[in-house]
Amino acid sequence: MRRIILLTVTLCFLPAILFVGGAAAQTDEFAMANEFYENKDYSSAVRLYLSVLNHGAESANLYFNLGNAYFKDGDLGHAVFYYLKARRLAPDDQDIIHNLEFVRQFSRVQMEGVELNPLRTFFIGLVEGYRLGTLAWLSSIFFILFVLILCVRYGLGVSNFPVRIGAVVLLVLLLASSGLTSFKYRDDYLTRRAVIITEDANVHTGPSDQSDVELEGAPGLIVEIISETVDYYDVLFENKRRGWIKKDQVAVL
């Protein structure tokens, strides 16, 4: 009987035990990677950080440290790539913002003449400091309050002036927060972005080596993926120049 009880308890808590055990292993590996970094063995640090990532855990700090290790190891493209991943998880982290800004200066090619859409810039300015989850919860709060006030209005039949005004105000707040959440989601996840990671990354006028070279890319340049063929991505640079680049020359976010 005691054996059965023990087995049952073990089975019930097995996922939790495994999770705690896995988390402890990840933390150990992370700490070890940090030690390699401190000893300036950046390639070993990169290997261990990637190992933590391969165990199915991601965090802004992990991506940040990966970006640092890649940068110190001389891989500008992957550094920018992982800083962008870190920024997506923690857009308000000043260390990430600083390092991303810092390392992008080293890109051999700077995208001059950037044409920005003022409306898009405005919306990005509104949401860039917030995590997607924060905006989603904010939308939820307004949604719940709006539904509750509808409960008062239609469930309980109370239809006085404060209830009507409250419903309108909450509806406006709900639409605004939902709109910003959708924009953030679209910008972070639906818009496919990539970072050039190889040194010789020629951008062609067509999806072929035979096509003319439109421009010379460089590690660390961020592009937006418009379409793709088997081997090439049709990419748009930040200054609106467009061309085709080989898939193995970029890392897709």
């Binding site: 990840q26 933390t27 300036k40 700090n61 110190k72 810092f102 200066q105 309980l156």
Partner: protein, 604 residues
């Protein structure tokens, strides 16, 4: 201090500054350029002599002209130009003279000079040939000026090139001359010649001049092009077409048409040039360097570093300049060798194109950035560049001097000394010289691809209020529906009331309280049926109830059982003492069974 006073002071300071910068200091950069619009003319023709005096002084003195006894000289005025760029003044004055020859021969004009502050600035020498025949034109031109009937043409368009068998990428100068011997109105409209197979640069138009062909004086409008053949073999320069309006010839003298010419009545005419065939030669194979990239002309090469001492990881910009005459646009970049001690990047490419003396030239300037990887005395090796020299007709090498760079390790740079990249000159939004340090802990982790929107917590939190709202709305609607339909309300409440009464009866199920028990059983059944049928329970008899239920169901046993229980209830009211515990229990079980079966009967 008032605003107007401030403005006045600023203006005064600017004027003083400009005055200081634009003083009449004589510099040695004063240049005197002498040029003729043509180098060969006939006795009946004229030539324009231009003397341009330029320098960084404002009051440029007029030139001292030599005695030109073999010409009649007429001044055609002067034009001046002053520009101030970054406080540097540069000015030029151009004096124009019309020369009419008085005798044939070859004359040299070499003693034009400018004297300033007791210093003499001499101009360049130009030569002019005056033909005895009275005309500088070729026989071919005379033929072109003659029509089929042997008389001179009123207008014609002539195209000519300076060479017929150029090398590939060598400049060929195409000259279009529109000769017009009658009055014309407005500017002629030119359709450019087709130059397929050439890289073309327009050299420009020459000021109109006059020339005598076949004893007829023509006004000549001239335009020149520099053509660079891009392929070998036979290439053709297509026809050019020019359209203009000339004065119409009057066929007969009309005394009343005396104002016709005055008001400029004209007719539109078109002239076309002849196509020109060129035989483009390939460059000789003999002696061609392996790194030859097709540059042809006369060039020089220089390389200069912006600094000779620099911190490790800081950039040194080396400006490589290839200048001379030739097709500047086709000049390829010099090859920068791979260096272990430097990281080398291309920074920028610029070109400036000049068109001096109808020759395309200028400079191509490459900026290369070299970043020392380690401290010490380092060297950027000499650069080599090969080209085909047109004058000597052979390949030549241009080389620069090696550039020595002293790379020093900066003080207090330990934190950033291991940066794998050179520090950029400008730090965007930050004065930091390194990235911020790694995070000590891994922080909050999640699964890669984790999306809040699809987590159970998020869905439940957002779903519960919706369910609540739907429930409240349903309850409210139901209430409203029941309030407007008494029968329905009674029907729906009937079961609940009946269950309550049966529960009460169960609590009274003893022989001592048999009378109350049977009264409750009777009320439960009769009230249930009355509520279901929306009729008053008062005055309903047992038979009447049996009949009403019989109308709603085919289950005769149910009706019979119902009537039996109700009759037993009536009996118990009058003789309660005769009832035993078994009667009570059987009646309760029967009533409960009847109630279950009645629930299945459709009363509506």
């Amino acid at each position: 201090m008032s605003k107007s006073l401030t403005t006045t002071l600023i203006c005064a300071m600017v004027l003083i500054a400009l005055g200081g910068a634009t003083g009449v200091r004589a510099d040695d950069d004063t240049v005197v350029r002498v040029s003729l619009d043509r180098d060969t003319i006939g006795m009946d023709e004229q030539v324009v002599l231009e003397i341009e005096v330029s320098g960084s002084i404002q009051d440029l003195p007029p030139p001292q002209m030599p005695t030109l006894s073999m010409f009649e000289v007429y001044s055609q005025g002067r034009s001046s130009n002053i520009s101030i760029v970054n406080g540097q003044v540069s000015s030029s004055v151009t004096y124009r003279y019309l020369l009419l020859p008085t005798k044939p021969g070859t004359f040299s004009i070499d003693r034009v000079a400018v004297v300033y502050n007791n210093k003499r600035y001499k101009g360049n020498e130009v030569n002019l040939t005056v033909l005895k025949s009275g005309s500088s034109v070729s026989q071919q031109l005379e033929e072109r000026a003659t029509d089929e009937e042997g008389s001179t043409r009123d207008y014609f368009l002539e195209a000519d090139v300076d060479k017929r068998s150029p090398f590939v990428n060598e400049q060929v100068t195409l000259t279009l001359k529109f000769y017009i011997g009658v009055q014309h109105y407005g500017s002629p409209e030119l359709s450019e010649p087709t130059t397929t197979g050439f890289w073309t640069e327009i050299l420009g138009n020459k000021a109109a001049y006059y020339q005598v062909v076949n004893n007829r004086k023509y006004k000549v409008i001239e335009r020149k092009y520099a053509l660079f053949p891009t392929q070998t073999g036979e290439l053709t320069i297509g026809r050019a077409t020019i359209r203009t309006t000339v004065a119409a010839k009057s066929r007969r003298r009309d005394p009343f048409d005396m104002f016709g010419d005055f008001f400029g009545r004209g007719v539109e005419v078109t002239a076309r040039s002849q196509p020109i065939k060129l035989n483009v030669q390939p460059l000789p194979e003999e002696g061609r360097p392996a790194d030859f990239t097709g540059t042809i002309g006369a060039f020089s090469l220089s390389a200069q570093a912006d600094k000779r001492e620099v911190e490790v990881n800081q950039p040194v910009t080396v400006t490589v300049r290839i200048s001379g005459t030739g097709n500047i646009k086709s000049i390829a970049e010099p090859v920068i060798p791979q260096l272990d001690e430097f990281r080398a990047y291309k920074a920028s490419t610029n070109e400036s194109i000049s068109k001096l003396k109808d020759e395309i030239g200028g400079a191509k300037i490459y900026e290369e950035v070299f970043i020392p990887r380690r401290p010490g005395d380092l060297e950027i090796p000499a650069l080599k560049y090969s080209y085909f020299d047109l004058k000597s007709r052979q390949y030549k090498y241009l080389t620069t001097q090696p550039i020595r760079i002293k790379a020093i390790k900066p003080e207090g740079y330990a934190a950033s000394a291991d940066l794998p990249y050179a520090s950029p000159d400008l730090t965007i939004g930050s004065r930091s010289r390194d990235i911020r340090y790694i995070k000590e802990d891994i922080g909050a982790t999640s699964r890669p691809g984790y999306m809040l929107f699809v987590t159970p917590v998020y869905l439940v939190v957002n779903g519960v209020p919706v369910v609540l709202l739907a429930s409240l709305i349903l309850v409210r609607r139901r209430r409203e529906k029941l309030a407007g339909n008494v029968g329905l309300a009674r029907s729906q409440a009937a079961s609940k009331m009946a269950r309550k009464r049966l529960a009460k009866a169960r609590s009274l199920a003893h022989p001592e309280s048999a009378e109350e028990f049977f009264a409750e059983i009777r009320l439960a059944l009769i009230a249930y049926i009355a509520d279901k049928l929306n009729i008053s329970p008062h005055g309903l008899t047992v038979d009447g109830i049996g009949r009403l239920v019989g109308e709603k169901t085919d289950d005769g046993a149910l009706v019979e059982k119902l009537v039996g229980v109700l009759q037993k209830c009536d009996y118990a009211r009058f003789a309660p003492a005769s009832l035993t515990q078994q009667d009570v229990a059987e009646s309760l079980a029967a009533a409960e069974d009847i109630m279950i079966k009645l629930e299945a009967v459709a009363f509506a």
